[in-house]
């Protein structure tokens, strides 16, 4: 520690206090950074990274509850601590001393408000997506595209009314929205029928392959399994020489597993809504008749 430095130095990773500890002082960062983390069932999450001049640990002083989070030095940090008793004695003499602390707490609440609004919005967006089958399929395909690089891709679901596989979401050039495949027809139809995920390189040699506008080289086709039956497939294809690997196939199977849950939920919700609408319609009609 240099001659002119004040406070106490905490080494990288050293804890200043831990969640659940009793809080008898607040802290002001003189230099370095401090990470504030909170325990969650899925592990510790960082809720803030604070820098020079910022205060922390003040909450436990005012609400007299145990520390709500853990504070640790992110890198070497120099911290000045302020004893609760001395602080309150000084505030008693000069209440305006809390102005700066209130300013800092207000700024923190404002930031939390913004984050809360963002979270709420994304939660609503997700809810809206997952009650609509087509939007659920588009969302899943977008996510799959982020993990597996492909030139074309689609999700096809089996329609009981049309007795065929219909495209619900797609990307790339190699797809036609009007495509309909009967069970057993083409690669997708065959995968739906057999329930086996397939990785096919040199796809033009495959007799089930129906040629489109581009020269497809490599194809992944994975069934979407429901509780009792297969009700769709996820297709991905590459035009380039860069072939899919077995890891890509396994990843897509994994995605298909979660996709099946989401799509089934959306389908069920859609059915439920239809039933509710029907009940409401019948009730209205009865009321009118009465």
């Amino acid at each position: 520690m240099k001659d002119g430095e004040l406070g106490r130095v905490y080494g990288e990773g050293e804890f200043i206090f831990k969640e659940g500890d009793e809080g008898d002082r607040m802290y002001v960062i003189q230099s370095g950074r401090v990470r504030i983390t909170k325990k969650t069932p899925s592990g510790d999450i960082t809720i803030a990274t604070l820098g020079s001049g910022e205060i922390f640990g003040e909450m436990a002083l005012f609400d007299r509850l145990p520390r709500s989070a853990t504070a640790g030095a992110l890198d070497e940090a120099r911290i000045l601590s302020i004893d609760k008793k001395k602080l309150f004695q000084t505030i008693d003499r000069d209440p305006t001393l809390v102005f700066k602390t209130l300013e800092s707490m207000s700024r923190r609440i404002r930031r939390l408000d913004e984050e809360f609004t963002k979270l709420r919005k994304s939660k609503i967006d997700i809810l809206q997506i997952f009650v609509n089958v087509d939007e659920t399929c588009s969302f899943i395909l977008e996510e799959a595209k982020n993990f597996i690089k492909a030139d074309n891709g689609s999700i096809m679901l089996y329609s009981d009314e049309e007795k065929a596989l219909l495209i619900k979401a797609a990307f790339g050039t190699e797809w036609n929205p009007k495509t309909k495949l009967n069970a057993g027809e083409g690669i997708a139809g065959d995968v739906l029928k057999t329930g086996r995920a397939e990785l096919i390189n040199n796809v033009s040699m495959d007799p089930r392959y129906k040629k489109g506008s581009a020269d497809i080289n490599s194809v992944l086709c994975v069934p979407i399994k429901g509780r009792n039956t297969h009700f769709g497939v996820i297709n991905m294809s590459r035009i380039s020489e860069n072939l899919f690997t077995i890891e890509d196939l396994n990843l897509l199977r994994f995605i298909a597993l979660y996709a099946s849950i989401a799509i089934e939920n959306a389908m069920n919700f859609s059915r439920l809504r239809n039933v509710a609408d029907e009940v409401l319609m019948h009730a209205t009609m009865l009321d009118m008749l009465g």
């Binding site: 520690m1 240099k2 001659d3 002119g4 430095e5 004040l6 406070g7 106490r8 002082r25 607040m26 002001v28 003189q30 230099s31 020079s52 001049g53 205060i55 000045l80 601590s81 302020i82 004893d83 001395k86 602080l87 004695q89 000084t90 000069d94 305006t96 001393l97 102005f99 700066k100 602390t101």
Partner: protein, 436 residues
Amino acid sequence: MADPYVLENGSEIAVIGGGPTGSFFSIFALKMAKMIGKELNVTIYEPKDFTKDGPRGCNRCGGLISELLVQTLAVEGINLPETLVQRGINSYRLYTDHGNVFIGTPSHEKTIATVYRGGGPKGIIGKGKESFDRFLLDLAVSEGAIHNPLKIDRIEYNNIRPVLFAKGQRIQEPDLAVGAIGVKSRTYKIFEDMGFGYRRPETVTAAIAEISTHSSAITEYFGNSVHLFLLPIKGVKFAAMIPKGTYVTVCILGKDIVVNTVNNFLDNRVVKSILPKTETYKVNCRCLPKMNVRAPKIPFNHRVILCGDAGSTRLFKDGLGAAYIMGKAAAKTAVFHGVSKQHFQKEYYPVYRNIIIDNKFGKVLFAVTDAFKVHKALNKSMFRVVQKEQLEPSSQKILSSVLWDMFTGNELYKDIFRRAMNFPMFFDIFKGCIRI
């Protein structure tokens, strides 16, 4: 009808003196005004250039910022950079004729700062450290104050409004004139001559000297401790040695301080025993500044207020802490209430008076300290109690904390006094006396 003594948007404040009190006043007045949506025009008149070394930039002070002030400033958002702090202090060592005892900060942190008020002793320029007074003045300027290096030499009332003059020229007619002046210059005359009854405070003379040696020698001999001496040297109440970069500041308080007091002190057996033995050292800079020991009775009038050393300050120590308290109290009154004599009487005077009352408790505590200084049995017994407290982690450390707060300026004398009235502690000291 609106109160003419309430500051409005665009009101002008003239602050005479850009030391810590003037800067603290300006910082808080500007901050608080912004909070209630007012813009004030604050001008700080300070001819001294605090970046200069030697007497030209110096404000003649020990340069010790108490633990309480360091922490309070940090809560206010004013953190002292390492370029400003000469040395972080985490302990005190108390010496008497009969031994010495070490008292560490309760939090085991470096919570006390030693600084130079100006550029530092002559020849120190270029050592990479800043002046404390300059740091605060710059903060005030960054809050929106204007620094004017003019020396104001006269203030007159014109229709109950102060008018400022410099070299016969009328400079400003502000809504409020703040006298943030010390007792070391004759600026107080300006306010005495205004005729509202202000009289300069009673003062005593102190001695300050700078001993220069190598930085490594300072670390070796003084460490991060302020060394405090309660020695029976004629005229010396108590003395402190405050380690800084390549200097140690010697501060001596007492009744009959003269030029030779520093030499007498340095020649004392106990003091000699802790000074560098192998390294050479010399006394580089010395002065005999005045210290306020009794506050003026009338520190304000309509649109005029005095704070800092020219008003009430803490007895013998923590002058910078008093500058903060009084500068802020004046700012709060002016911004949130008004600038009439009645406003100051109601809002500012209670804070002013509290310091005066507290100093009365301080006088008693210093008298008790004197008794401990001269009484061998009391002295030895006190050491024994403190040593025992320091060795026992579970001990409440009552005497240690009383001494710590007493010499660090960490707490009001009144609160220290209350804590010192502790029967078990006195019983321990008494027991120690009997054993001796």
